[in-house]
C-alpha cells in the first residue's frame, strides 16, 4: 500500500502545485535556517579527535602569586606555562607521549628569485606531537627523538606550503630558508585541519593549522619568537630572550598522552611533587598552587569553544522552524479539506480511518522530504554566507553525512508532527456529507 500512497501523494502534489510549493518553501526556509545554525554549532562542538580525546591532556600549573588569577577560567588556572615549567615537566617519564608547544612564525625566503618572501605561521613542538595528534604524513616523517634534546635545524612543512614551494614534489631532504636560517625538510604532512584547533585554543580556536613545524629545542638557539599569547602576572624586566626564558611569563603549552586512569593518577602525583619541589626554591607560593589535567573535551569546554550565544541561536532557529511548521499546518488543512470529497468516496469504497490517516501522513512526509531538500540547499547557501562573513569558520561550514541525516530526520519528524492534526481531522470527517455534494 505504501507505493500506492506515494502515487496518490504525487498526484495530490500535481493537483495543488501552488499550495504544495508554499509548503515546500515554508519547510525549506525553516530547515535551511535551523540547519545553518545547527551545522556551525555541531561542528564547533564536535570532538576533533574522538579516538584519543580522553587520553590527551593539556597541562596547567597554578603558578600565579597571591592575588592573581585567570578570571576567564572557572578554576582560575592560567592557560599556559612558563618556559622553565615546560622544560622541567618535560623530564617526567610518566606520560606515554608528551610535547611542548609554542605558536610562532617565520618569514619564508623561497629559492626561486621570482617569488618574494612571505610570512607563515609555525609551531615549535617535540617529535611526538605528530603521533599524539594523529597528524598524517604525505612524505617522510617526524624528526628523531634525539633532536628534542640535541637541536638540529630540521622542519616539517604542510602540503600546501610544499605545493607552493616545490610544486607538490617529495621535498624531503631539501632545504627551506626560514628567517635566514636553512632548515632541512624531514617530512611533509598531508591535509590536516582539525576543527576546532584543539591543541591551541587560546590562539584562535578555529584558525588554520600551521604550515611549518620546527623542534621546540631550537627556541633558545634561534630565539624563536612567540606569535601567540604571552600572559604575565608580575612585573619583570625582560630585556633579552634569555630573560623571557627565565621569566614567570606564561607563553608555552604542554600536552601529554596518558592512556589510562592509573597513568593519569601517577602523572598528577608527579606534578604535585614538582610543585612541592618548586615551592622549596621560592616559586608557587600561592596557597592555590596545584596542577590540572584537562582532556581535549574538557579543554574545549573550559575554553568555551562553543559560545553560550550559539545555544540561544540554535533555539531561536528551531523556534523559526516551529513558526514555519505552524504555517505549514494551516496550508495542510487547506489542502486536505479541499480533498475531503475524495476522502468521502474512499471511505465509501472501503478505506478505514487509519488507512486515510496513513495516506495523508505519507502525503505530508513527501512534501516534508521535498521541503527538506530545499532546506538543505538553503542551508548550504547559509553556510556559504557564514563562510563569507567569518573566514575563521571556514573549516566548520560544511555539512557532513551525519548532519544531512539529521536534517532529513528533523524534516520528516517535524512534517509528520505538523501533519498529525490535519490528517486526524480529515480521517474523522463524515464521508456521507461529501458524497451527495461532490
Amino acid at each position: 500500500m505504501f507505493s500506492y500512497y506515494l502515487k496518490l501523494s504525487w498526484l495530490s502534489i500535481k493537483r495543488t502545485p501552488m499550495l504544495t510549493a508554499l509548503m515546500i518553501v515554508a519547510i525549506g526556509l525553516g530547515i535551511g535556517v535551523s540547519m545553518t545554525v545547527l551545522t556551525v554549532n555541531y561542528m564547533m562542538d564536535k570532538d576533533p579527535i574522538p579516538s584519543k580525546s580522553h587520553q590527551l591532556f593539556h597541562v596547567q600549573l597554578y603558578t600565579y602569586g597571591e592575588g592573581h588569577r585567570n578570571n576567564r577560567m572557572e578554576d582560575e588556572f592560567p592557560y599556559q606555562l612558563t618556559y622553565q615549567d615546560a622544560m622541567n615537566i618535560h623530564r617526567s617519564e610518566v606520560p606515554l607521549r608528551k610535547t611542548r608547544s609554542l605558536s610562532t612564525g617565520f618569514s619564508v625566503i623561497p629559492e626561486a628569485a621570482d617569488m618574494p618572501p612571505f610570512l607563515k605561521s609555525a609551531r615549535a613542538i617535540d617529535h611526538e606531537f605528530f603521533s599524539m595528534f594523529k597528524v598524517p604524513f604525505l612524505f617522510g616523517g617526524t624528526w628523531d627523538a634525539e633532536v628534542d634534546q640535541s637541536p638540529r635545524e630540521v622542519v616539517i612543512i604542510s602540503k600546501e606550503l610544499n605545493d607552493q614551494l616545490f610544486k607538490g614534489e617529495d621535498s624531503v631532504g631539501r632545504s627551506i630558508n626560514l628567517a635566514t636560517i636553512e632548515y632541512t625538510i624531514v617530512g611533509v604532512i598531508d591535509s590536516w585541519q582539525p576543527a576546532p584547533k584543539f591543541y591551541d585554543l587560546n590562539n584562535g580556536s578555529f584558525n588554520d593549522a600551521e604550515s611549518i613545524f620546527v623542534p621546540f629545542s631550537l627556541l633558545p638557539i634561534h630565539e624563536i619568537p612567540s606569535w601567540g599569547n604571552n600572559n604575565g602576572w608580575r612585573s619583570e624586566k625582560i630585556n633579552t630572550y634569555q630573560d623571557k626564558l627565565a621569566s614567570e611569563t606564561m607563553w608555552n603549552q604542554y600536552w601529554v598522552e596518558l592512556p589510562n586512569e592509573e597513568t593519569k593518577a601517577n602523572y598528577q602525583q608527579w606534578l604535585e611533587g614538582y610543585i612541592d619541589e618548586q615551592q622549596k626554591i621560592g616559586r608557587f607560593q600561592n596557597k592555590k598552587a596545584a596542577a590540572s589535567l584537562k582532556n581535549v573535551v574538557q579543554w574545549m569546554k573550559v575554553n568555551q569553544v562553543v559560545p553560550s550565544d550559539n545555544s540561544i541561536l540554535v533555539w531561536l532557529s528551531f523556534m523559526f522552524l516551529a513558526v514555519c511548521m505552524i504555517n505549514t499546518i494551516g496550508l495542510l488543512l487547506a489542502k486536505f479539506l479541499k480533498r475531503a470529497p475524495e476522502v468521502g468516496v474512499r471511505r465509501a469504497l472501503g478505506a478505514s480511518r487509519s488507512e486515510i490517516f496513513i495516506q495523508h501522513l505519507v502525503d505530508v512526509s513527501l512534501i516534508g522530504l521535498l521541503g527538506g531538500l530545499v532546506g538543505l540547499l538553503l542551508g548550504q547557501l547559509g553556510l556559504m554566507g557564514v563562510k563569507h562573513l567569518y573566514s575563521s569558520y571556514s573549516q566548520l561550514v560544511h555539512m557532513d553525512l551525519t548532519l544531512i541525516l539529521i536534517a532529513i530526520g528533523i524534516t520528516l519528524g517535524s512534517s509528520v508532527l505538523a501533519g498529525l492534526y490535519p490528517a486526524w481531522l480529515i480521517c474523522r470527517t463524515n464521508p456521507s456529507v461529501y458524497l451527495k455534494i461532490q
Partner: protein
C-alpha cells in the same frame, strides 16, 4: 440478509434536533431489487448511508449479512463495506485525477488483492460496462452516462452482495438513464441485491419492491412485478 429493527437517527445541533429516521424497520432479502422513494428530507439518503455504514445510528439494531453492525469498530465496518457493499451515487463520485483503470482500482486496493487479480477484475468490470477501450481516459473525458458506468464498474469489480444506489440516474438524460437502469437490472439478475433511492416513479416501478419513506418511517410497501427489458444486450457500448 439485511435487517433493520427500530432504527433511530437524530441529527443534533445547538438549536435543532432533527429526527431523520424514527423506529425504522426493514428487511431486504438476497437478490431483491428494492426502490426507495419519498419526498425530499424524508430520510431516504440517511437510510442509505446507515445501510452502507457511512453513518451511525442512535438506537435500534442493524444486521448485515448476519453481523450486528453496531458492535463493529471502524476497521471492521470498513472491511465489511469494502467486501459486501458497492455504492453508486447521483454525481458518480469518480476521482477526477485518476484514470478509469485507477478509479475502478480504488476499492480493490483496500481489499488487498494482488496486482494480477486487481488487473483481471478491473478489465472484466470495464468490459462489462463497455468501456474497456477507455481505461486510460480521465473521467472528465467521458459523458455523464459513461461516468456512471465507470462507477458501476468500480462496484462490480468488488463483486459485492449489496449495491446501494442513490439517485443513480438523477444527473443523466432519459436515454442514458435507461441504459444505466438496464445495467442495474442485469446486475440484479446475476444475484446482486440492489437498494436504489430515487425520485423517479417510473424507475421505482421497475424494481421488485417499492418502499415509500415519509418523515423517517416506512409508510408503504409495494410488492411489484419487475418490468425488465430482457431483450437488451448485456454489454453496453459507448
Amino acid at each position: 440478509m439485511l435487517k433493520m429493527n427500530n432504527i433511530k437517527k437524530v441529527f443534533r445541533t445547538d438549536l435543532v434536533e432533527t429526527h431523520a429516521l424514527r423506529d425504522f424497520s426493514l428487511e431486504v432479502n438476497e437478490g431483491e431489487f428494492v426502490a426507495v422513494t419519498g419526498p425530499s428530507g424524508s430520510g431516504k439518503t440517511t437510510f442509505l448511508n446507515i445501510t452502507g455504514m457511512l453513518e451511525t445510528f442512535n438506537d435500534g439494531r442493524y444486521e448485515l449479512d448476519g453481523k450486528d453492525v453496531s458492535k463493529l469498530n471502524d476497521n471492521q465496518r470498513s472491511k465489511l463495506r469494502n467486501e459486501k457493499i458497492g455504492f453508486i451515487f447521483q454525481s458518480f463520485n469518480l476521482i477526477p485525477d485518476l484514470n478509469l483503470f485507477d478509479n475502478v482500482d480504488v476499492p480493490l486496493r483496500y481489499r488487498g488483492f494482488s496486482a494480477k487479480e486487481r488487473k483481471r477484475r478491473i478489465e472484466n468490470a470495464l468490459e462489462r460496462v463497455g468501456l474497456s477501450a477507455r481505461m486510460k481516459h480521465l473521467p472528465s473525458q467521458l459523458s455523464g452516462g459513461q461516468q456512471q458506468r465507470v462507477a458501476i464498474a468500480r462496484t462490480l469489480a468488488g463483486e459485492p452482495l449489496f449495491l446501494l444506489a442513490d439517485e443513480p440516474t438523477g444527473n443523466l438524460d432519459s436515454l442514458m438513464a435507461r441504459q444505466v437502469m438496464q445495467l442495474l437490472e442485469e446486475i440484479n439478475q446475476q444475484g446482486t441485491t440492489i437498494i436504489m433511492v430515487t425520485h423517479d416513479a417510473e424507475l421505482a416501478r421497475r424494481a421488485q419492491r417499492n418502499i415509500h419513506i415519509v418523515d423517517g418511517q416506512v409508510s408503504d410497501y409495494q410488492q411489484l412485478e419487475p418490468v425488465l427489458d430482457v431483450a437488451e444486450p448485456k454489454t453496453i457500448t459507448a
